[in-house]
Amino acid sequence: MSDSSLELRNVTRRFKDMVALDALNLEVGAGELVALLGPSGCGKTTALRIVAGLDRADEGQVMLKGRDINGLPAHKRNMGMVFQAYSLFPNMTAAENVAFGLQMRKVSKNKRRDTAHELLELVGLPTHAHRYTHQLSGGQQQRVALARALAIQPEVLLLDEPLSALDAKVRTNLREEIRRLQLSLGTTTIFVTHDQEEAMAVSDRVAVMNKGRIEQIASPDVLYNSPATDFVAGFVGSMNRIRATKTGDSLFVIGRTVGASKIGPNIEGPVTALVRHESVRVKPDAKSDIVILTRSFLGPVSRITSQLPDGALVHSMMSSAESASLRPGDRVKLELLESELLFQKAE
C-alpha cells in the first residue's frame, strides 16, 4: 500500500519471557479504519500503545507517513486516543476536557471554546459542555473522550476498546457513531477490540491477532467467508466443530455427503468440519435420530441446539419465523450449507 498513513515494521515487544508482539507488520491506509481483533493477551493493546508512544518497541519501526516516529515521545506524536477506562480529567468540564489538547498547542481561548463546542455538538452533547465527569453517564463520557481525541485533529485516532465498559445498547449506538464520524472526518483509525461483531461492524479491514502476530488482515466479508487459518475460522463467527470424513472434494458429515472445497489442509480421511451456526438448517424429520435439545428465542432469530446420535451438539441459528414450529424433543434432520463449509485436520 503506497499511500499508507501508518506502518508497523517487524515490531517486537517482550515482557520478560513473554513475547507480546512478534515481528508484527501492519499497514493502515490514509482515512482507513482498521480493527485489531483478538483474544486477551494477543498483543493488540500493546501494538496500539506502541503506536501512541506510551510503550516502546524492543525491535522494529513505527512509520507515520513515511517518517520513523520510534524516538518521538507520546506528547509530540499528535495521536488522539480513547481509552477503555474512563479517562476524562475529573477536575475539568466536558468542554475543558475537549479543549485541553488545543490548550497544549497554544490555540487561542476563543478558538478553543468554539472548537470544543463544535466537537461536543458533533458527538451529540451540545448541552453538556459545562458538566463535570461525575455528571455524565458512561456513554456520554466516552463521547466526550472521543471529541477530545478528535479536537487535536490527530494523525491517527487510536481507540482502545472504547466501548467495552458500556451496556449493549449504548455500545451499538456509539460504535455506529464512531464509524459515522470517522468516515465524515476521514481520520485514519485503529480500533482495538476483542468483540468480533464490533470489529466487523465498524472496520474497513480487520486484523485478527493471535500470540503477537496478525493471522489475517482483510475486509470483514473476506475474513468471515474466507478465513485464512483455522484460528481465524474459529475466532470469527460462531462455529460448530463436527467429526467428519473427507474424500477428495466431498465431506461425509452427519450421515450425508456434501461438497467441500474451501480452506483446510490438503488431507484425506478423518477431519473436523467447521460449520457456522447460520449454515445449519433444522427441518422436522420423524425418522431421524437427531433430537432438538433447546430452542432459544433471540428476537428475529432463534438458536437451536440439537444432539447427534453420538452425543455431539450442533448449534444452528435460524429465523424465528422459520423455526417457530420446532420444539425441544422434536426429531429433526440437519442440512448444511455446502458453500459455507470449512474443515480442518481432526484433532
Partner: protein, 259 residues
C-alpha cells in the same frame, strides 16, 4: 425507632469523644477569657497577645518558614509519588522505608546531625529550618499523597494527558495535581501545621520562631499564653475549614450557568 437504636452505639462513641476533646478545649477557652482584676470575662488576654510588639514578627517568620517547607515537600513529593505509582513499584519498599525515617530518628538527633554536618552558609540562614521541617513532615505528606493517587485512575489520566500533548511536567502539575487537589491540600495543611508548630529543632539550632516565642512569653503571662494557645487552635480550625471548602469540586457554578 429501630434506625435510631442502630445509631445509638455510634452516638455514644461520638458523645464520649466529643466530651473528651471539647471539654478541655472549652475549659481552656473559658480560662483564657477570665479577667481576675474585674472578676468577670472579657477579651483582655487576647488583646494582650496583639499588643506584643514581636507577635506579628514571629508569626510572619513562622508562616514564611512553614510555607517554604510545604512548597519544598510538594515539589519533591508529588512527582516522586506519581512516578512511584506509575513506574517505580520496585522501589516502593525503599521509599516507604526512607519516608519513615523521620519518625524513627529522634528529632534531637536530626537537629544535632544538621548542626554538625551542614555547611556554615546554611547554618547562618534561618530558611535551613524549612528543609528540616520538610523532612519532619515527609512521613505524613508522603502517605497522604500516596493514598490520594491510589484512589484515581492515575495511569489512564496521565497517558491521556500525554497523548493530548502534555509533557510530564504539565501532566503532573496541570492535570494530576488538580485531580487530587483535596489530597494535595491535606498534605499541604499537614506540613504547614507541623512546620508552624515545630519546636525542638528550632530551639536546638538556636533560632526563634512563633513557637519558641510563645514559650518565652508564656512565662510572663500564664493566662495570655492560654489565650495564645486557644487562638492558635482556632486559627488552625479556620484554616482546616478553608482547606475543606477549597477541596470541594466547583460544580455548582457550572451547573447554574447551564441552567
Amino acid at each position: 425507632m429501630f434506625a435510631k437504636l442502630k445509631n445509638l452505639p455510634l452516638g455514644i462513641v461520638l458523645f464520649i469523644s466529643g466530651v473528651f476533646v471539647l471539654l478541655p478545649l472549652g475549659s481552656a477557652a473559658e480560662f483564657s477569657l477570665r479577667q481576675p482584676a474585674s472578676n468577670d470575662h472579657g477579651l483582655n488576654n487576647y488583646l494582650w497577645i496583639f499588643e506584643q510588639p514581636e507577635f506579628a514578627h514571629y508569626i510572619g517568620i513562622s508562616i514564611a518558614l512553614a510555607s517554604v517547607a510545604s512548597l519544598i515537600l510538594l515539589v519533591l513529593l508529588v512527582p516522586t509519588v506519581v512516578w512511584l505509582n506509575l513506574k517505580g513499584q520496585k522501589l516502593r519498599p525503599f521509599v516507604d522505608f526512607i519516608t519513615l525515617m523521620p519518625l524513627v530518628i529522634p528529632v534531637v538527633a536530626l537537629a544535632i546531625g544538621a548542626q554538625n554536618s551542614l555547611p556554615e552558609f546554611a547554618q547562618t540562614n534561618q530558611f535551613i529550618l524549612s528543609f528540616l521541617y520538610a523532612v519532619l513532615a515527609m512521613p505524613y505528606a508522603y502517605r497522604t499523597l500516596d493514598t490520594g493517587l491510589k484512589a484515581i485512575p492515575l495511569k489512564t489520566i496521565s497517558e491521556a494527558a500525554r497523548g493530548l500533548g502534555a509533557n510530564w511536567f504539565v501532566a503532573i502539575f496541570r492535570v494530576i495535581t488538580p485531580v487530587i487537589r483535596g489530597t494535595v491540600l491535606s498534605a499541604l495543611f499537614m506540613s504547614l501545621a507541623l512546620s508552624f508548630g515545630e519546636y525542638t529543632v528550632t530551639s536546638l539550632l538556636h533560632w526563634d520562631t512563633f513557637t519558641t516565642w510563645v514559650t518565652v512569653i508564656s512565662q510572663q503571662n500564664v493566662m495570655g499564653a492560654i489565650a495564645l494557645s486557644v487562638f492558635s487552635l482556632l486559627a488552625i480550625f479556620i484554616f482546616l475549614l478553608l482547606v475543606g471548602l477549597l477541596a470541594k469540586p466547583a460544580t455548582s457554578q457550572a451547573l447554574k450557568e447551564e441552567e
